[in-house]
Point group: C2
Chain length 354, copies 2
Amino acid sequence: MQKKNEPTLVGVKEIARRANVSIGTVDRVLNNRTGVADETRNRILEIIKDLDYQPNMMARRLASKKVIRIAVLIPAVSGETGYWEAPLNGIKQAAAEIRDYGVTVDVFLFDQNDRSSFTAKTKDILKATYQGVLLAPMFEEESLDFIARCKTQHLPFVFINSDIAGEESLSYIGPNLYQSGYLAAHLINYITVPGQRVLIVNISKELDLHHHLLRKEEGFRAYFQEHPKAITLDKTDIRKTDYKSVKTKLHKALDDAHADVIFVTNSRVSTVAHYLEETGKTDIRLIGYDFLQDNITALRQGIIDFLICQKPQEQGHKGIMALYNYLVHGATIERQQYMPIDIITKENCFNYKN
Amino acid sequence: MQKKNEPTLVGVKEIARRANVSIGTVDRVLNNRTGVADETRNRILEIIKDLDYQPNMMARRLASKKVIRIAVLIPAVSGETGYWEAPLNGIKQAAAEIRDYGVTVDVFLFDQNDRSSFTAKTKDILKATYQGVLLAPMFEEESLDFIARCKTQHLPFVFINSDIAGEESLSYIGPNLYQSGYLAAHLINYITVPGQRVLIVNISKELDLHHHLLRKEEGFRAYFQEHPKAITLDKTDIRKTDYKSVKTKLHKALDDAHADVIFVTNSRVSTVAHYLEETGKTDIRLIGYDFLQDNITALRQGIIDFLICQKPQEQGHKGIMALYNYLVHGATIERQQYMPIDIITKENCFNYKN
DNA sequence: ACACTCTTCGTTAACGTACACGAAACGTGG
DNA sequence: CCACGTTTCGTGTACGTTAACGAAGAGTGT
């Protein structure tokens, strides 16, 4: 049926035979090294194209003793939030997959509350000899410093989870925050009727993270600007993440104005769920972010209505793979890889893959 | 920080050295072949465990000239429905990924309207020498025949898209139809108010496929049984898939009783969308299945409200990978791999990965 | 013509594993 | 004690590629 092409049967030997040269010469043009006459090189190139030669990756990486090292710089999972566990898992999984190909990945964890720990780790990375870096540029200023150094060292880097526009990263892999806020608004549009009130809740004590939340809120508000509806948007900022602080603030906010729907702009939605459950306000619809255990529990109980999630584990996986494909296969990488925005409810959370 | 284990540096040579034997002997116990004294075997086994030896896959498959062949038996993409294009793409992608490992996959396509084409292809597969089969068992009787033969030939097989319970397949990879209908009901529960009417629409001329739709409808109805709500469920079966027939039937159904929401149990939802657009009934909410171009278009236009999708491409990919992991790595495979049930709306369809 | 440097290319030993072949070592029966 | 079979093991080649080494030829200056 399909053409009778000999699959993978052609190797350097066959090319060498046809070109009347030795495999050494063929190897030189394949890895475009010097020392081949232009005429010979062209002849071999021609034959390679003719044969649609595909190098045998196994043999290639077996023979090449050079090992590729990738550094990863992301926040440690804190009691604060378990979010980074998922990307880390994706990173580990990818690392395991490409370990056989002679790629090792070292993970450096910094403290989200401590800019200096970030800087310290960047120094460690620059000291060692890596061929690529995957990083979460949470602290903008410090990150700019770091990637400036990367550039002088011709060290390719990939951003994960948050982007710094205008910098020549190989790729950005992460959420489209604006769009995810927009989507949340879309969902709320479905489940509300005119006259109702929506409360937007930002819970975060980190300044740089707060920036994330604002981007989502922006998308959220944009939706209702573009789709006018007679609902009222309230908002409360909570700068402490412990339950008591959240409770107090929420109490006040709900006292000021009743809410039919609460939109929490990050994964702390389970804290709000706890509050609603405790106070028996289970008629309030609740939407938040991220497929974390506490959130899933509340989702199952019907306290949280929707979770929005952007596959953090896959983010980590893709981040490593982008570097791998670039470094090993010389592939060109998409500059922006926005993750799909998943909607999770009580009824489809069972088989969700983070 | 982590233990100073030499990664992948240990090979058969090191094991042989420690055991005071040659690599040949080590090789014998690794591939548990005969001809090793029990005492020696145990000694080597011990060392292997000690060193946490991981064989080098590349070298392994390089040296072993045996090639693994996988057969795939799925419906051809017809004008009828483009659905199977997605799984096929996933299969092709997976095939490309493992081609380097000496695995070839041959795809056999049958006609969804012709049972005999299915049988013919199964014969072709059995005639050739495959080590594994991935199939969509759409025709139950014929499939049972086929897998009976597979069993006598010790040919492992994986089901995709639809399952035949009780058969010893390596794995089933596909949707949980019941649950996806249940989810649709859940969504409709959000967007309806008491007193409204929902119309269930089954569009399919194939008998075996119809069975799929019923399973979804079952889940759908179960939801409202478990969550009683004052809404009325109507239903119409449409046994011809051309637009004119659908139009006629829909007209009649909507004439009988007004509908606030229409739930189409498969990917033909775009046909209904077309009807709604043409007749200006755009106030009717519409929910259906699958991330196909026509559906996406209608989704973007706001005619379709929700699409439910179960990653058909990933299904194909996972199907091949299950076989690969089993045949090459001897991994144990999960018996049932239900795909996540994704909810797609106008606002999150951009970055959706099928 | 000689010594020398460059360019161009062939040869060969790895890489880690699989597998065929054959060599010891150890019986066992006569 | 020899012939023969069996068990147990070591050796060598192969897989397709990389990369170091060095040989042959061309060019240059004296």
